[in-house]
Subunit: 741 residues, 2 copies
């Protein structure tokens, strides 16, 4: 790629961004699209165009985003989103800082440039003498293409052993120190955000509950319920409120799911019936009772569904009773009347055998993964290790099955294996397309399914809360993406060619990384630019959800509930969003000194991301959970990991430049490790647990314990009849079970 | 060493043991020696010869020791001692188990022996064909000496690649499984012991207190006392009782020490004065006021001391006031009215910044190391790492300074450097002795001072409790002793000769260990035998303390207090005792399969140790602290470390024997790691914290909080006047400080 084609690609991306932005400005003001561009406001019961943003000014949203405070974000989207913005701004602040320095730096590049221009004039004889003056890697990168204009601004342009390298060495330190300083400040800020949110005087159900797992076998004649109640009453005689024994809800969930399905179908049938027809009267909709409504007897839908609902409701009630009485499992939720007691209990050992009565903080009711609650202590540990191994294998060897599938699914093979496809495959136009895309097809499908696969793996670990699963999957995705995209692209083919060298000297990986870095600078520059212009353009304009929504509205949705489902935006997808931001951090950090020209692109990426997502957070996405910034420690650790990679790479690169003072960089990676250790010691505890000085803040009102208790009952177990009928089951009151002892 | 000399040495040791035992039986029945042989009973206010043990039967103590139950040990000497016996019996039980197997084993050795005898008869031509049949290592060990009789019972006698090795392979597994099984059972038992002791219905002051360190800076106008009280009152409004702010006691301790010294001197002077003299009247003792009582004015002792005491008492009172008011530090002891709250508080995070308000369990008052309480969070971490590095260097390089000192302190050098020693050194008899012992002198002094040095290092880490310091020092000593005695002796000179091989292949250390093991079997056999016969003989007979006591009684002690000091026995010295037992465990485990003949010696060591120490625990040693078996997890981990060393060594040894099925042993070390991990997960938590189901047991009586509080006041701060005079100082009541807010 030469310089002009780089500019062309940059220009095109920018143009696309502008077009998408204009499109957004135009589309978002249309009344019918409000649910696509302002769903969060609508969900919160606010006016979509509050604050007069329904102007034709295409930059109004920018003003709004910039003028919104952190508190606005917290109010509209919760702490987690606010923390994500802290992450984004720590992402670009250092680059702003560094940008200033890199200004000098680029100046330096110009000086070097002019130096090179001047040198052949001043010392023509020395220059023509031999090739020592010309660096190996300069020739190296030029051989990669003729992208010399940008190369001249990079470190590859500096002579080996040149004293000018001192400036780059100082810059390496500067970037590290800035990163330490800013992430430390951000950690402090996030910690304060979390504390403020947790000490809020509003009643939050999860602050009054703990999750108890790994109950020992109950003594004979004692139900699980009695066992839990007796145990906790004896330890917390004053603050124990009530317990909820976890039940095996598989059966009841299934029935409930069916019931809900029929209820939806009934509502839909009724809506169709109510539709004004040409002849003025609605037609009663019909359906078939067989497989997928395709075969079987044709019946009147409304009657049929009503009957089914009645039948299932009875079945559900019976199953609810059975579940609550007989399917009690070895874990429970325990409720306390005081936040402090719940916080204390969640941090303390209850039983002499640590693998019994393990007590942890209860997640939010909506986050609770009921099926994971009953997994036992050692089972959880084993699952975790198995998942780690699977993830490791996936990251390292994911190319093998894909290469295999690609090899199998060639056109030739397809024709052989599936002969009925022959007539279709042989069409000339289709053949060309298939030949071009078939090899990548497996990879594309794999990459699309990867987040789901990682979510599935994380859930399999036995984690009890939804946000934790997302956190875990996001971490796994980060390792995948950094290992495969960054290191994979950079080292690329070189690795396999020289696999023997690595076997002999494992640390030569970093040398190789260092050597191949400058050549790939332009690739990543284009990558980052594309990512922010096109990616954020699409994000802002929401073209895809808009089209899907309008299609659904026109052809599928028949009532309000279905319509709402069609536009409901979901949350900011942290599983893939955070890792891909982390990838950009890694790339920009690693190139920051080698090719400082990447820094403005990094700044643009994070600034634009901040701006666009600010808009989306305030207006579009509805958070699915609130974990009070629990993801931050992982983000911070990964930023420092990226920094560590950068520092080690720079060590290698300075080595390649044969700079005598390279060892001066050795303290940097050690410093990073110490920094991570200190941050972990100082802050991490407060992210794992609710701290007591926070939990001891006074509440606005006495908590309504019955309501707190009820908020944890899974929907499939909520009985519509009076609760009094359950006697001594998984949900019953402690006083009753006591009286029966 | 040949077989007969081994028997001679064994016989001599046994004879010494018998003599010492008879001596013990004779001496211990004499009235005047009761304080040496029964101090623990005397301290506890019991009759020395309770239960009719004052018989001339020299084996009465054995009967008594055998008939004593674990509860007796707990009553007389506490949980820690009981746990030590669990350790000793797990030490010998497996060997009893294994002994049974090794009986078959030894039989096998005999079979092998007869095989070798038979083979040359049956296959004379094959035998004389070449040297392959004769193993390298058989010749190896014989070259080490002519100790062939015992060698024939060992694995070194088996031919390489022989199928007989299968038996040894199975034995290797058997020893491991027995060790797992027994240590797991023991862990469970100790855990129950600890739980029972902690849930006792008696009031223990340390269960009502927590130690709070790393207080943040107080806001202006607030004293430390107010800061602590406000903070804990807000979190525990109902159960908070009172706080004791830690003060800088350096000055007051010094004055108090001087005062106590003078009080002792006064008592002594008075005792001398009261002594009946020849002329019927006591002489008033005199002393000099100058340096060490050697120079200065001669004064009447009683008057002089009385005056000094009066003066110092006033000074102490003034200093106490100043200390309590103005020398408050950033840590405190906080008292709760409930055991559960104290246990909960000690396990929970209190502040958002984890390095502030760190709360841990309070140690027993007598264990508290006041000077360590004020060391800050990161300071403690840094100290710890520095100490680890120092210990590592000490373990690995301790020979260097000693070799240097030995080289310097030759007779020649001494004469040159200290010419005034010339006349003494030149005496022929002394010269011979000095020449023999001078080289070892540095080593002997070093080894004698090592435990003290390790205790000092552990205390420097900033550990707040005495038992923890002892535990830490004991761990360090273990690493020192295993590394230097066991590995040092075994590999010995071979190591330095082939240092290059190790540099190339680090895992060849284990090969080398494996190769040199059989040759050293006899050395360690003698070592273990000597250790138990002479060591335990001396332990039981208490010859050295007896002589010292009688000398002191005759020439130094003038009153009861001084006499008591002379016979007071101290506690079972865990710092050196546990590591040296661990050394025997390591030795016996590592040789158990290679030379099963060592097993009975191991059994004898632990059985005899159990017996002798049972006697000592019941009658002699007075425990200095009670940590409720907190040392056990470390003992268990170290037993498994020894097992791990054994397994890896066996892997190497089977490799040396060129046995094809050696890889069958590979799962063993992995199994050991998993076992340690599982034990840690299951049990360790309950040893770090007081578990809630234990703390929630009911008490016999309502705790007398004032008394609990007072038991923590350091002696130098106890005021003899009414307490009301202190106003708003480090010890004052919360109500007062509140009223002044």
């Amino acid at each position: 790629m030469d310089f002009s084609s780089f500019l062309t690609s940059l220009g095109t991306s920018f143009l696309i961004f502008i077009v998408l932005m204009v499109l957004f400005a135009w589309l978002s003001t249309r009344q019918g699209n409000a649910v696509v561009y302002y769903p969060n406001r609508i969900v919160k019961g606010m006016e979509p165009w509050e604050g007069g943003s329904r102007t034709r000014n295409p930059f109004a949203w920018i003003k709004e985003a910039l003028s919104s405070s952190e508190q606005d974000v917290i109010n509209m989207s919760g702490i987690d989103t606010a923390v994500y913005f802290v992450f984004l701004s720590t992402g670009f602040c250092p680059y702003l800082f560094v940008s200033f320095f890199s200004f000098l730096h680029t100046l330096l590049g110009i000086l070097v440039l002019s130096g090179i221009v001047l040198l052949p004039v001043l010392l023509p004889i020395a220059a023509t003498d031999d090739g020592v003056k010309k660096n190996e890697h300069t020739s190296n990168t030029t051989s990669n293409g003729t992208f010399s204009d940008l190369d001249k601004l990079s470190m590859a342009n500096i002579e080996v052993k040149s004293p000018r390298l001192w400036a780059f060495l100082v810059a390496t330190y500067w970037v590290s120190v800035v990163t330490y300083f800013l992430t430390f400040k951000a950690y402090k800020h996030v910690s304060a955000l979390r504390a403020t949110a947790l000490m809020s005087n509003e009643v939050k159900p999860e602050q009054f509950a703990v999750l108890v797992r790994d109950l020992p076998n109950a003594t004979s004649g004692q139900t699980r319920k009695q066992q839990v109640d007796t145990y906790f009453k004896s330890i917390y005689p004053e603050t124990f409120y009530r317990s909820m024994v976890v039940t095996n809800n598989k059966e009841v969930d299934k029935i409930w799911g069916e019931l809900e399905g029929f209820k939806k179908k009934l509502a839909r049938a009724e809506a169709i019936y109510a539709l004004p027809q040409r002849n003025g009267q609605g037609t009663r909709p019909t359906n078939r009772t067989g497989f997928l409504g395709l075969c079987g007897k044709k019946v009147d839908s409304i009657e049929y569904y009503n009957e089914k609902i009645k039948e299932l409701t009875q079945k559900l009630e019976a199953e609810q009773k059975v579940t609550l009485r007989e399917k009690q499992q070895g874990s429970a939720l325990v409720f306390f009347t005081s936040r402090v007691t719940a916080a204390l209990a969640a941090q303390s050992l209850h039983a002499q055998m640590v693998d019994n009565w393990t007590v942890t903080e209860a997640p939010e009711p909506r986050q609770l993964i009921w099926s994971n609650l009953t997994i036992k202590f050692y089972d959880r540990i084993i699952r975790q290790y198995v998942v780690y191994i699977v993830v490791f294998l996936t990251i390292v060897f994911y190319m093998i099955p894909i290469a295999f599938i690609s090899a199998v699914t060639t056109l030739k093979n397809l024709r052989k294996l599936l002969p009925f496809l022959k007539p279709i495959v042989d069409i000339a136009a289709l053949k060309t397309v298939l030949e071009a895309y078939l090899p990548q097809l497996a990879l594309i499908i794999f990459l699309a399914l990867l987040p789901k696969f990682l979510l599935f793996l994380s859930k399999t670990e036995g984690i009890p809360s939804g946000s934790h699963v997302i956190r875990a999957a996001s971490g796994k995705y980060f390792y995948f993406i950094v290992f495969n995209v960054f290191i994979g692209v950079t080292i690329g083919g070189t690795l396999f060619a020289s696999i023997k060298t690595i076997e002999e000297k494992p640390n030569s990986v970093f040398d190789m990384l260092a050597k191949s870095l400058p050549g790939n600078a332009t690739f990543f520059l284009t990558f980052v630019a594309l990512k922010f212009f096109v990616g954020y353009g699409l994000e802002l304009s929401r073209i895809v959800p808009l089209i899907i929504y309008h299609l659904k509205r026109k052809y599928l949705c028949k009532n309000e509930a279905e319509l709402r489902e069609a536009w409901f935006p979901g949350d900011i997808n942290y599983v893939t969003r955070v890792p891909s931001d982390m990838l950009v951090v890694t790339i920009v950090l690693c190139y920051s000194v080698i090719a400082p020209v990447i820094i403005p692109f990094g700044v643009l990426y994070f600034a634009l991301g901040w701006l666009v997502l600010r808009n989306q957070a305030l207006k579009v996405y509805v958070p699915a959970y609130e974990s009070y910034g629990r993801i931050w420690p992982h983000m911070q650790t990964r930023i420092i990991s990226a920094l560590f990679l950068y520092q080690v790479t720079m060590l290698g690169y300075f080595g390649v430049m044969r700079f005598y003072y390279t060892p001066i960089l050795v303290p940097l990676p050690i410093l990073s490790l110490v920094f991570v250790f200190v941050c972990r010691k100082k802050f991490y505890g407060a992210f794992c647990h609710t701290v007591l000085e926070v939990a001891s803040q006074e509440l606005k009102e006495t908590p309504h314990m019955e309501q707190i208790f009820k908020s944890f009952i899974p929907p499939s177990l909520i009985s519509e009849k009076q609760e009094d009928e359950h006697f001594e089951d998984a949900l019953s009151q402690v006083s009753r079970s006591e009286s029966s002892v």
